[in-house]
Amino acid sequence: MSDEYANREAVRKPHGNFSIIDPLFSSPIEGDTLRCCHCGAHWVPVKGSGRQRGFCMKCMDVTCGSHRCIECLPHDKMLDLMEKNSSLLIRV
């Protein structure tokens, strides 16, 4: 098992769950994912990963920590904007 999955953190309210059934390991590897409340991307929270995540005080939810997600733009609002201007698809 990679260090990343070895140090994965369980969260109280996961936004998703994954399982990896690998014949090299006696039991399945299971873990949680969190979803950025702005861009909608999921990630596996890993203790000590060095990745800086964020928290939006308006949405009261976690963010992925990328620069584009620092300012509050709720996910549903972002989808509305992307639907009106598909050129945002690559950038947002």
């Binding site: 998703g16 014949p23 991307a41």
Partner: protein, 153 residues
Amino acid sequence: MPRSYGVAFTGTLGSATHTQLGIWEPATPLSRFRVFEWGASASPAPADNTTRYTVNRFATAPTGGTALSGASLPPLDVGEPASAALGMGGATGADVIGAQLMMVSVNQRATYRWVAAPTKELVCLLTTLNGIGIYAAYQSGAYAMDLYLMWDE
């Protein structure tokens, strides 16, 4: 009440920039597809290979692969009507890769499964020919994988 659908595709992993299994909105989109589950495994002779999968948005319908529509995108409840989505496995062109929504690297011998919590799905844009797909961003060789995708619409 959303209806749930699923699609599976088995094929040799090809392009890193064109979807290995994706669904997209038709010419007249009616609802945002919400991907709530996807997975990867290998049925034919898995070996010690590694693949980095990403789930990305894409614009423009992919081409060059196996087209999946109608009966190839069956509802999970057999009483429901056919899906409005269009799908393709093993695409080789046309789709313009967009924002990355997930990433995972797994060995070919392993079976990977991800499920979203309710309301935390990967949401497709309600825009003509925009979709969400699984991409094999890195692969250590030429081998086939089984992929599946489930969504509400």
